[in-house]
């Protein structure tokens, strides 16, 4: 849900804390004019008054709401969803949790390739694909939770390449073993 708060467009709403959160880069003077306060991470927020809160709840979570001086709150169906308190982009990039997940992700990929290359046996094909999928799921978690993390971005690039190779390999297997597919 987005809140266009008078002269400050595209604010977010944090339902758990009941905060209107101003977008990054909004002029400080304007924020102070509308009684926004700054937290320790540098984000500007404001607790809505009773009328504003009721108007927000009326549109939560599927409608964007516009507050203006000359008319009643205006609602528009949105595609955005409830947001959590965002972490500082700098913190996201260096987040220790994200880095630990990335290392586990990389280890999974390493073992998957070990299965594929070092062990020349069909039995290890499925565990290798399983490990690649697990690694891919971890990469998605990093991309969704820590979108600014550089390690995560690199891993995502690697995963895209693996996905392309995976699909090509499956096509090759199907072409080579077409007579094996007796029942699907």
């Amino acid at each position: 849900m987005l809140i266009h708060y008078y002269m400050i467009p595209e604010c977010s709403y944090l339902k758990d804390q009941n905060y209107i959160l101003a977008p990054m880069g909004t002029a400080e003077g304007l924020l102070r004019q509308y009684d926004f306060q700054q937290n320790e991470n540098g984000f500007w927020y404001k607790i809505p008054n009773h009328q504003e809160y009721e108007a927000i709840m009326k549109g939560w979570p599927n409608y964007d709401i516009t507050f203006s001086f000359d008319q009643k709150p205006f609602y528009k169906l949105n595609s955005e969803q409830p947001v959590k308190f965002p972490e500082n982009p700098e913190f996201q990039e260096k987040s220790p949790i994200a880095n630990v997940i990335c290392i586990i992700d990389l280890l999974l990929l390493f073992f998957a390739f070990l299965f594929l290359i070092a062990l020349d046996d069909d039995v290890f094909l499925l565990p290798a694909i399983g490990l690649i999928i697990l690694s891919f799921i971890l990469t998605i978690i990093i991309r969704l939770r820590y979108p600014e993390n550089l390690f995560g971005k690199i891993l995502f690039g690697i995963d895209i390449l693996i996905l392309i190779c995976f699909i090509l390999a499956i096509i090759e297997v199907i072409i080579e073993c077409i007579q094996c597919f007796n029942s699907c």
Partner: protein
Amino acid sequence: MIEINTDYQFIPPYPIMIILSLITGILMMYFLNRKNQIQKNVAGYLCMLAPMMSLFFGLLLTYITSGGQYFGLSSLGGLIGMYSAVLIMALISPQTGTLRIMMKNCTLVLPLIYSISKIGCLSAGCCRGISYHGAFCIHYTGIETEPAFVFPVQLTETLVFLIIFLMGLILEKKHQHPVWIVFIFSASAKFLLDFLRESHANQILSFTQILCLVLILIGFFLYFKNRKSKAQT
């Protein structure tokens, strides 16, 4: 009578149809998810995860049921993979309340994926029907497959599942919430059409049919549970 020679000089149509079915289904699922306000990145990541998990579970189920003898693509394994991908994405998505929407959209597109993939089976001669010499029978020739006159079960499956998919879309457009109807119809069609397959010979119920029966029971259970909760509200 339909003549099909399974000796293809270049790329056989089977892998092309499997990949095409996945691409069509996944794109359809992406558009339905976006239409239902699922975030762009969540819908996009699901498109990448779903084919991987679908193919993985498709291979895994055949490997398990054959006792580790051979690899193959199982459609029911593919179904388990698709639902698993949706479940995982719903769990890790920051967006709330996505599971029901993504499960519904996945159920709507599954008959389409199956319908297209069966054209591949028809061209390759796999999943063929019982011996049959009547109208529309298929005469397979070629070195890859044994020559035979068989019932066009793959064509029947293509048509039946295409109808189920279109029915689902029409009901969805009319806001009739068709998810359980599509699910139960799909499982029932798969169960019944399996009787017409060559692989079903000398069996009372095949493993696929047992799995289908389980899916039908789950479908009915969830349908009545859903109806009861709606009636209460």
